[in-house]
Amino acid sequence: MAELTYRAAVARGIAQEMERDPNVVLIGEDVAAAGGVFKTTEGLFERFGPNRVRDTPISEEAIIGAIMGAAMNGLRPIGELMFSDFLATCWDIVANQIAKTRYMTGGQVALPLVIRTANGGGNRFGGQHAQSVENWAMAVPGLKVVAPSTPSDVIGLMAAAVRDPNPVVFFEHKKLFAAKQEVPEGEIVDRLGAATIRNPGSDVTIVALAAMVSVAEEAAVVLAASGVSAEVIDLRTLVPLDTKTLLESVSRTGRLVTVEENPRLCGWGAEITSIVVEEGFWHLDAPIVRVTTPHIPLPAAAELEDLAIPSSEQVVAAVQRME
């Protein structure tokens, strides 16, 4: 067991899959010799060479269009978008082409590809480099959506994403890159669609994702001190969504708080709320509360950004306000 950062886990996960399958390739801006702007692809170019690890022009539509085409013709490509905000610059390829092609062709075309991208705030980069946009991807039928919160999940879910025969958008959280964890040597393969209970509890269910998981965990610690037993669920993937774990938990706790970094409207918190209301209504002992970033662009200044992104204090307060 060695301590591994989330950042290094990205490279390890990709390397594991490239080693296994010669059809796995990686393209993106500065991903090769430079090892990526976040150093998440370090060593891959040296190990797998220029055919399989390639720098591109600043042409997001070409990058993501090219991996789509490559997936149509036998590769299992990974394309990097430096920042998830840049999904907007190739959204047509992602939402209109990649997501829909299998369906529109009556199943003729498989698109086993992964779009990796750095998501989320906390780095004072301002409104165009700090967004959490996993809800954009979730809203589009035909995309799987993954957002790991720990180094070991990064590896296992990366493997699952690369092996999945469907297009996967893989959100790496910028704020977590430096996070460390003991991770065993050897192959790690996880599966998409399974949430994890990070902290079992009986009074309230707190659902979180990516950087919000530790926020929820901190809240659970504080709540425990005041006698409230909070169950923390790390969704890990939004599509497929592990509604079983979710509904089962709420059926025990009767209370639900969602904690998401997206701006407020139409986030995955709303989706989960709606599912639980429709299917678990009679278990609910209190209104479901969503803790989200307000419906504003993200500000750059530290003091403002910290106010904007959900904090454990906000989660604690939300739970305490229930009932």
Binding site: A62, G65, G69, D92, R102, T105, G106, G107, D242, I275
Partner: protein, 330 residues
């Protein structure tokens, strides 16, 4: 005027292709007016020579990417006519099971890798597919067709540049039919040739071909495809042509000057081709037989389509995912 490099059987095959495309689309138009073909339809009537000239120059494993105006291209790569017509009519027999519709014809077994309904989007896709062929050593070339109007969208620029830099085996073919939907291309570019005058921006040669002369198209197709296959990278070909009908559906195309339309109808690629075959001594009977056979094929596809059932309702929820289903939860 006859190309030295094209033998008679190829020339006849191309003529046959053009006739089949023509007849198919005329029928599609009639069926649209009749309400059998649904939604919309974008006909390539008048542009058949581009599709035929390239199709004849491609190996079976070479890949075609085209637009909503893609009936010709898909048919001439070998897609079964009843399945194409079934798709236009939204039938179970459709090549995409009725899910794609007129603007989304795909026939993977014949390497017709899709018609794309969003202008320009398929260019980078064609690049990626061709690049994958290089990495996998399949010796495939992508041929990617698009309109004059598509040369102004960002994806065009990104794709051609990437292909040029990576020396990807793709042939970009701009079918310049002088119009976007209703607006002339000349109104929205500051150069004369929307594709050819942009080639140098990507270090490519400027290539213009008479898109109504199937042999000229075939020559340039052979040359650029072989160049690509040799690993010398992409080409950008501008084929000058004209659509006989309006942009889509029942558009009468009134925004085009009568004399312009008349001049281009004079230069109908089928007429040019047939005259040339005759001048070269091909028997009128041979040509007539081609035409008759085509009509039989179209009639039979029409019959099949009229008799075909709608898609099974259960297919609404299939094929979102590779497991065949559409489930997004457990």
């Amino acid at each position: 005027m006859t190309s030295a490099s094209v033998d008679e059987s190829t020339r006849l095959a191309m003529y046959r292709d053009m006739v089949r495309a023509r007849d198919f689309e005329q029928r599609a138009y009639d069926l649209f007016l009749e309400g059998v073909v649904q939604g919309t339809t974008h006909l390539g009537l008048g542009q058949e020579a581009v599709a035929a000239g390239f199709a004849a120059a491609m190996r079976p494993t070479d890949m075609t990417f085209c637009t909503y105006r893609g009936h010709n291209h898909t048919l001439l790569r070998g897609a079964p006519m009843p399945a194409l017509m079934g798709e236009l009519a939204g039938r179970k027999t459709g090549i995409c099971g009725g899910k794609g519709g007129s603007m989304h014809l795909t026939d993977v077994p014949n390497h017709a890798m899709g018609s794309y309904a969003i202008v320009g989007a398929h260019l980078p896709i064609a690049v990626g597919a061709a690049w994958a062929g290089v990495l996998r050593g399949t010796d495939q070339v992508s041929v990617c067709f698009f309109g004059d109007g598509a040369t102004n969208i960002g994806a065009f620029h990104e794709a051609v540049n990437l292909a040029a830099v990576w020396k990807v085996p793709v042939v970009f073919v701009c079918e310049n039919n002088l119009y976007m939907e209703y607006t002339p291309i000349g109104d929205v570019i500051a150069v004369e040739h929307p594709a050819a005058d942009r080639a140098s921006a990507y270090g490519l040669e400027s290539i213009i071909v008479d898109g109504n002369d199937v042999e000229a198209v075939h020559d340039i197709a052979v040359e650029t495809i072989e160049r690509a296959r040799r690993g010398e990278g992409p080409s950008l070909v501008e084929a000058k042509t004209y659509r006989h009908k309006g942009h889509s559906r029942a558009d009468p195309g009134k925004y085009r000057p009568d004399d312009e339309v008349a001049a281009w109808l004079e230069r109908d690629p089928l007429t040019i081709s047939r005259r040339r075959l005759e001048a070269d001594g091909v028997a009128g009977d041979t040509i007539d037989a081609i035409e008759a056979e085509s009509m039989i094929e179209v009639d039979s596809a029409t019959e099949a389509t009229r008799n075909a059932p709608p898609p099974d309702p259960a297919t609404l929820m299939t094929e979102v995912w590779a497991d065949g289903g559409s489930e997004w939860r457990n």
